[in-house]
C-alpha cells in the first residue's frame, strides 16, 4: 500500500515537474513580457503547436518579441473573447482574414482597428484613413500574415503575388515584353506605391509621379537647359510603368507617339505606314530614317531633355 502511494506520488510529481518545466519555458520572462505571456497562455492552452495554422510561430515575428514592451498579447488584437473562452462554438471577438473558415471574418473596420491601435500613427500610415485601400474595405490581413515568420508581402520576391490577388491587370502586364524586374524579384510594388495611403496619385510613395520615378532614374531629373514639357509634368504621358509590348515601357512608338503631340514640324505631319518593302517607310521608295527604327528618335534622342547649348531641338 505504501509503495503504491509512493508510486502514485512519484508519477504525480513527475507529471507536475514536467508540466512545470514546460510552463517555465513559456513563462520564464519577467515584467511586461511575463504579463503578456500569461495573457497569451489563456489562448495557447488550446491553440498550441498542434494547430493547423502555426499560431505559436508568431514568436518569430516582431509581434512575438516579448521583451519589447510594445509587443501585443493575443487579446490585444483578437479581443478578450470571453464568449469564445467559454465555448469554442463562439468566435473570438475579432477574426482576421478575408475568407470564411471555421468562423466568418470580422468586418474590415473591426479588423483594421485592432492593427491601427498601434500602427496608425506610424508616418507611413498617416494617409490610411480615406485612402484607396481603406475605402475599399481592404483589411490589413488581406495582405499581411502576422503569425508566421515569413510575411509574403514584406518580401520583395513574393510581394507582387500578394498584390496581384486583387490587381490582376498588373499581373499580366509585368510579363509583357518590356517590364520592370518585378516578376524577377528586383523591384517590388512598394518601391513605387505605399499601400497604406499616400499624398501621391495612385498611392505613389512620393508626392508626384515624376518624384517617384526620379528615385531610381535621377538622370532624368534635370533641370535641363532644354526641357520637354510633358516630361516635366508626368512620366506616364509616354510610359506605362507595369509593362508594355513596346520597349521601353512605352504607350506607343515613334513616330506615332510623337505625332500624338506634334503635327507640323519637320516630318510629324506625314502619315506613315508600311511601304512596298514591308517595312515602315513613309513616302520614299527606300526606307526613311524619319520613320524607320527609332524614327524621330533617331535624331531627337534627348527626349527627356538636353543640356547641350546647341540642343534646343533635343538632338544633342
Amino acid at each position: 500500500m505504501f509503495m503504491k502511494i509512493i508510486l502514485q506520488l512519484i508519477v504525480l510529481c513527475s507529471l507536475l515537474m514536467g508540466s512545470a518545466a514546460y510552463a517555465e519555458k513559456i513563462t520564464a520572462p519577467v515584467g511586461k513580457a511575463a504579463d503578456a505571456l500569461n495573457k497569451d497562455s489563456e489562448c495557447t492552452r488550446c491553440h498550441d503547436e498542434n494547430e493547423k495554422k502555426p499560431i505559436l510561430s508568431i514568436a518569430q515575428t516582431a509581434h512575438g518579441n516579448k521583451a519589447d514592451s510594445r509587443t501585443p498579447s493575443c487579446q490585444s488584437c483578437h479581443g478578450d473573447s470571453e464568449k469564445h473562452l467559454s465555448s469554442n462554438s463562439n468566435p473570438p471577438d475579432v477574426i482576421f482574414g478575408t475568407k470564411k473558415g471555421a468562423y466568418s471574418p470580422s468586418e474590415a473596420k473591426d479588423q483594421n482597428k485592432a492593427c491601427l491601435t498601434c500602427h496608425e500613427k506610424d508616418p507611413k500610415r498617416t494617409h490610411w484613413q480615406g485612402g484607396a485601400h481603406q475605402t475599399a474595405d481592404v483589411t490589413c490581413s488581406s495582405c499581411h500574415v502576422s503569425h508566421t515568420a515569413h510575411d509574403k508581402v514584406r518580401d520583395k520576391k513574393t510581394q507582387p503575388e500578394v498584390c496581384f490577388t486583387c490587381h490582376k491587370d498588373q499581373r499580366a502586364q509585368i510579363s509583357k515584353f518590356s517590364h520592370h524586374p518585378i516578376g524577377e524579384g528586383k523591384v517590388a510594388c512598394s518601391d513605387c506605391h505605399n499601400p497604406h495611403g499616400s499624398t501621391g496619385p495612385k498611392l505613389l510613395v512620393k508626392n508626384t509621379v515624376t518624384e517617384t520615378c526620379y528615385t531610381c532614374h535621377a538622370e532624368k531629373r534635370g533641370p535641363f537647359l532644354w526641357e520637354h514639357q510633358p516630361v516635366t509634368e508626368d512620366c506616364t504621358n509616354c510610359h506605362t510603368p507595369h509593362g508594355s509590348n513596346i520597349t521601353p515601357l512605352l504607350k506607343s512608338r515613334a513616330p506615332f507617339m510623337c505625332q500624338e503631340c506634334h503635327d507640323g514640324s519637320h516630318q510629324s505631319v506625314s502619315p506613315v505606314a508600311g511601304n512596298a518593302a514591308g517595312t515602315q517607310g513613309g513616302l520614299t521608295t527606300v526606307p526613311s530614317e524619319n520613320f524607320t527604327g527609332r524614327a524621330c528618335i533617331n535624331c531627337h534622342s534627348m527626349v527627356h531633355g538636353s543640356n547641350n547649348p546647341a540642343g534646343a531641338l533635343l538632338q544633342r
Binding site: N65, N237, S301
Partner: protein, 794 residues
C-alpha cells in the same frame, strides 16, 4: 525474506518509476521540441548548380542567366539573437540573408535590432540589365566609355539622297562591324538605422548608394557643314546608333524625426538625392557623307559631340502629421519644400576635327553661359479631414497642392543646327502647379452593402517666367478637371462578394491656337510660329479637353472552403475635343481566376487575363496632294486641315493564361512538386488611313477613302503587328532527404517568339541610306534550364 511476488512488485515499481522519470524528462522535451520549432527561426543554407542551354540577353534580361553554361546557386537565411529565447528578457535579434549569389542578380542583407530601441540594417543588391546581344557597330570604344572612333580604313559612306542603303557599304566596311553587348549594371548599397528615444520619439536615417555602369543605345544625328577631304562633307542628320554610357552614381539620404502623442503625431524629415554622371558629353565619328568620296583614313570622318545626363541634386524638407479631434474626426496633412539644382558644365561646343579645323556649334558670342545654373523649387501641401461621427457614414475632404517652379534663367543660345543653319534658341523653363480638392462619402447601406460617392476637382496651371523675347512656352496655360465616382460593394452571401464602380471625368483645357512659340530658325513670320508650327486645329492630347468614362465590376465566390472563383472586368472610354490630334481611345480588361486547394499542401489554380486598348488619331498631313488654306481661329496662311486628313489607329491586344500547381505530401510527405505554366500573347498594330475631301467647304464634304496602293495616295495601310509570344514552363521537385535536408530539382523551359518591324530598318539591305546599320535582331529564344540544389535547415 522477499517473496517472488514482492520481487515482482519491486521490479514493477522500479519500472514504473523509471517510466515516470523518463516521462518527466521526455514528455516536456517532446512537447517543447515542436513548440521550439515554431518559436525559433529556421535557418537555411542552399547551394547548387544551374545550367542554361542558350545565351540570350532577353531571357537573362534581369535574372542574370544571359549566358549559356553553368552557374552557381547559393543563398542563406540565418537568424538569431536572445530575442528568440523567451527565457531571456532580451529583444535583440539579428538576421543575415543572401539570394542568387551565383548570378549578377545577387542580393545580400544584414540587420540587427534591439526591438523597440534601435535597429541597423545593411543591404547590397546587384542587377545587370541585359538589353541586347545583337547590336553591331563599326565604332570602336569600350562600352561604358564616352568616345567612339571609326577604324582608319573604314572609309566614307555615300549617303546622298536616292542611294540604296546596303549597297553603299563595301565588304571592307561590313567586315568592320562587330557585336557589342548592350547592358547596364546597378549596384545598390544601403545602410539604415533607427533609434527610439522614448515611446513618443524616434528617429531614422537611411542612406542608399546606387552605382550604375554600362551603356544604353541612343540615336544620334551627325553634324552637317563639316567639309572633308575628297570634296564631300559630313551628312547632316546622318544617324549612328551608339552606346550612351550610364556611368552614374546616385546617393539618396532619408532622415526623419518622428513624434507621436495620444492624439497627434508629427514627422519632420529630409530627403536628399545627389546624382552624379562621370561624363558630360559623348563623342563619336560619323562616316556618312553627302556624296561619293574616294577619301580614305581618319580625315574622312566628322567628329560629333552630344550631351549626357547632367549631374544634379535635390534637397527636400518634409513635415507631415495628424491630429485626432475626436476618435471619429481626424486631420492629417503635410508640407514639402524641395530645391533641385543643376549646374553641370555644358558639353564642349568647339569640336576638333581630324582635318584640323575645329567645328564650332555655336554662332559668334552665341554661348550665354558655360553652365545652366538651373534651379527648381518644388512645393507640396496636403490636408485631409475624415469624419465618422455619423453611424455608418464616413466623410472625407481633402486638398492637395503640388508645384514645380522652375526658377532657371531664360537665355538666348545662338547655335548652328545639325543642318549647319543658324538657330536662335531661347530656353523656356517650364513651371506648373496642380491643385486638387476631393470630397467623398462612404455609406454602409446595410451590413452587406456599401456605397461610396466621390467628387474631385483638379486645376492645373502652366507657365514660364521671364522668357527672353516674351515667347510663349505653353499652348494650354490652364485646365480644370471634374471627376465623379460611384462605387458599390455587396456581400451577397457569406461566400460571394460583388463590386461595381463608375466614374466620369471631364477635363476642360484652355488651348490657345494662336500660341506663338519660339521656334528658332522658324521665327521670321508669326504665321510660322502659330500653334507651335502644328497644323491649326491640332491639339496635343495631354492638353486637350477630354471626357473619360470608366466602368468596372467584379465578383468573387468562395464556392467551398477549397474552391475560389473570381471574375472582374473594366472598360474605359476617352474622348478628346480636338479637330486634329488624338480623337478617342478605349481600353478593356477581363480577368478570370479559379483556385482549388484540394489538400492542405496541394492546390491548383488557373487564370486568364485579356486586355485590349485602342487609340485613334486624326492628323492633318502633307504630301503629294496639293494643300489649300482653311483658316482656323482666324489665322491665315497656315492651314492644312481639313484637307489631307489622315488617321492612325493603335490597337493593343493581350492574352495571358496561367496554371499553377502544388502537389505536396507525396512519398510519405517527402516530396513536393510545383508547376508553373504560362502563355502570353501580345500584339500591337498600327493602321494608317488617308482620306481626301473632294472640295473645301464648311462643313467639308464627306471624306472619301483612296486605296493605299493609289499613286496619289499618301502612305497608308497596316504595319505588320508587333508580336510577342511567350511560353513558359517551370517544374520544381523538392525532396526531403532527411529531417533538415532538402534536394530541389527544377526545370525551366521558356520560348519567346518575337516579331517586330522595328528591326527591319536596321538590317543591311533595309537601312535608310542615312542610317548606319546595327544588325539588331528580334530577340527570339528557346531556353532550357536545369537546376539542382541542396537546402539545409538548422
Amino acid at each position: 525474506m522477499k517473496t517472488h511476488n514482492e520481487e515482482m512488485k519491486v521490479r514493477i515499481l522500479a519500472l514504473a518509476v523509471r517510466c515516470a522519470l523518463l516521462a518527466t524528462v521526455a514528455l516536456p522535451l517532446g512537447a517543447y521540441a515542436d513548440d521550439d520549432d515554431l518559436k525559433h527561426p529556421t535557418n537555411t543554407v542552399n547551394f547548387g548548380s544551374l545550367y542554361t542551354s542558350q545565351s540570350s540577353a532577353r531571357f537573362g534580361q534581369y535574372n542574370g542567366l544571359n549566358k549559356e553554361g553553368f552557374y552557381g546557386l547559393g543563398g542563406f537565411d540565418v537568424r538569431g539573437g536572445d530575442g528568440y529565447d523567451q527565457d531571456k528578457n532580451s529583444a535583440l535579434r539579428w538576421k543575415l540573408n543572401g539570394t542568387d549569389l551565383g548570378t549578377t542578380s545577387r542580393n545580400l542583407g544584414a540587420s540587427i535590432t534591439d526591438q523597440g530601441k534601435w535597429k541597423v540594417n545593411l543591404g547590397y543588391d546587384e542587377l545587370q540589365h541585359n538589353i541586347t546581344d545583337t547590336f553591331q557597330t563599326p565604332l570602336q570604344g569600350d562600352p561604358g566609355g564616352n568616345n567612339f572612333t571609326l577604324p582608319a580604313n573604314f572609309g566614307a559612306v555615300n549617303s546622298a539622297t536616292g542611294q540604296s542603303s546596303a549597297r553603299v557599304l563595301t565588304p571592307n566596311q561590313q567586315s568592320a562591324f562587330h557585336t557589342e553587348k548592350e547592358q547596364t549594371t546597378r549596384r545598390n548599397s544601403s545602410l539604415g538605422t533607427s533609434y527610439t528615444f522614448t515611446e513618443q520619439l524616434s528617429a531614422q536615417i537611411d542612406y542608399n548608394h546606387l552605382e550604375q555602369s554600362g551603356a544604353k543605345l541612343i540615336g544620334t544625328g551627325a553634324q552637317g557643314g563639316i567639309n572633308l577631304l575628297g570634296g564631300s562633307s559630313g551628312r547632316a542628320e546622318g544617324n549612328n546608333i551608339i552606346m550612351n554610357p550610364t556611368s552614374y552614381s546616385t546617393d539618396n539620404v532619408t532622415a526623419a524625426l518622428n513624434w507621436k502623442g495620444e492624439k497627434a503625431h508629427l514627422t519632420g524629415g529630409y530627403f536628399g538625392s545627389m546624382f552624379h554622371d562621370d561624363y558630360n558629353s559623348l563623342s563619336w565619328q560619323n562616316a556618312l557623307e553627302t556624296g561619293a568620296s574616294t577619301c580614305k583614313g581618319v580625315n574622312c570622318y566628322t567628329n560629333n559631340t552630344m550631351s549626357t545626363a547632367p549631374s544634379n541634386s535635390l534637397h527636400q524638407a518634409n513635415l507631415s502629421g495628424g491630429y485626432d479631434f475626436t476618435p471619429a474626426t481626424k486631420l492629417v496633412g503635410g508640407f514639402s519644400y524641395g530645391y533641385n539644382t543643376q549646374n553641370d558644365s555644358y558639353a564642349p561646343t568647339l569640336i576638333p576635327q581630324a582635318s584640323g579645323t575645329a567645328y564650332n556649334m555655336m554662332q559668334a558670342n552665341g554661348l550665354a553661359a558655360s553652365s545652366l545654373n538651373g534651379h527648381v523649387e518644388t512645393k507640396h501641401g496636403d490636408l485631409k479631414l475624415t469624419n465618422q461621427s455619423i453611424k455608418d457614414l464616413t466623410l472625407t475632404a481633402a486638398f492637395k497642392y503640388n508645384e514645380r517652379d522652375n526658377r532657371t534663367d531664360s537665355s538666348t543660345y545662338l547655335y548652328k543646327d545639325l543642318g549647319n543653319v543658324n538657330y536662335t534658341g531661347v530656353n523656356t523653363p517650364y513651371s506648373n502647379k496642380k491643385t486638387q480638392y476631393e470630397v467623398a462619402a462612404a455609406y454602409r447601406l446595410t451590413k452587406a452593402q456599401n456605397l461610396r460617392l466621390a467628387y474631385e476637382r483638379e486645376s492645373l496651371k502652366r507657365w514660364c517666367d521671364g522668357v527672353v523675347g516674351g515667347a510663349q512656352c505653353v499652348s494650354s496655360p490652364t485646365s480644370d478637371e471634374d471627376k465623379v465616382g460611384l462605387t458599390y460593394r455587396l456581400k451577397a452571401f457569406d461566400d460571394v462578394t460583388f463590386n461595381a464602380g463608375y466614374s466620369f471625368a471631364k477635363r476642360n483645357a484652355n488651348f490657345d491656337h494662336n500660341f506663338v512659340a519660339n521656334t528658332g530658325i522658324y521665327a521670321p513670320t508669326i504665321a510660322g510660329t502659330l500653334n507651335a508650327r502644328d497644323v491649326l486645329g491640332f491639339v496635343a492630347y495631354p492638353y486637350a479637353t477630354r471626357a473619360q468614362n470608366l466602368v468596372k465590376s467584379g465578383i468573387n465566390w468562395q464556392v467551398t472552403q477549397k474552391v475560389d472563383m473570381g471574375v472582374n472586368g473594366r472598360y474605359t472610354v476617352d474622348d478628346y475635343d480636338a479637330t486634329l490630334g488624338v480623337q478617342n481611345g478605349h481600353s478593356a480588361g477581363v480577368n478570370v481566376d479559379v483556385a482549388y486547394n484540394y489538400e492542405e499542401n496541394s492546390s491548383v489554380s488557373a487564370y486568364w487575363s485579356w486586355q485590349n486598348g485602342q487609340r485613334n488619331m486624326r492628323n492633318g498631313g502633307s504630301g503629294t496632294i496639293g494643300n489649300s488654306s482653311a483658316a482656323v481661329n482666324g489665322a491665315a496662311s497656315q492651314a492644312v486641315a481639313p484637307k489631307n486628313i489622315w488617321a492612325n489607329q493603335l490597337e493593343d491586344n493581350s492574352n495571358t493564361v496561367g496554371l499553377l500547381t502544388k502537389n505536396g505530401g507525396l512519398l510519405g510527405g517527402k516530396l513536393e512538386i510545383l508547376g508553373d505554366f504560362s502563355y502570353a500573347f501580345d500584339t500591337s498594330g498600327y493602321s494608317t488611313q488617308v482620306f481626301y475631301t473632294p472640295t473645301t467647304g464648311n462643313p467639308p464634304a464627306a471624306p472619301i477613302s483612296v486605296p493605299c496602293g493609289d499613286s496619289n495616295s499618301l502612305t497608308c495601310g497596316n504595319l505588320s503587328p508587333i508580336k510577342n509570344e511567350l511560353f513558359s514552363v517551370k517544374l520544381t521537385g523538392n525532396y526531403k532527404v532527411h529531417k533538415n535536408g532538402k534536394v530541389a530539382l527544377a526545370y525551366i523551359y521558356q520560348k519567346l517568339n518575337s516579331n517586330d518591324y522595328f528591326y527591319n530598318g536596321q538590317q543591311f539591305g533595309y537601312t535608310p541610306n542615312r542610317v548606319m546599320p546595327t544588325g539588331l535582331q528580334a530577340q527570339d529564344y528557346t531556353v532550357n534550364v536545369v537546376a539542382l540544389s541542396y537546402s539545409l535547415a538548422f
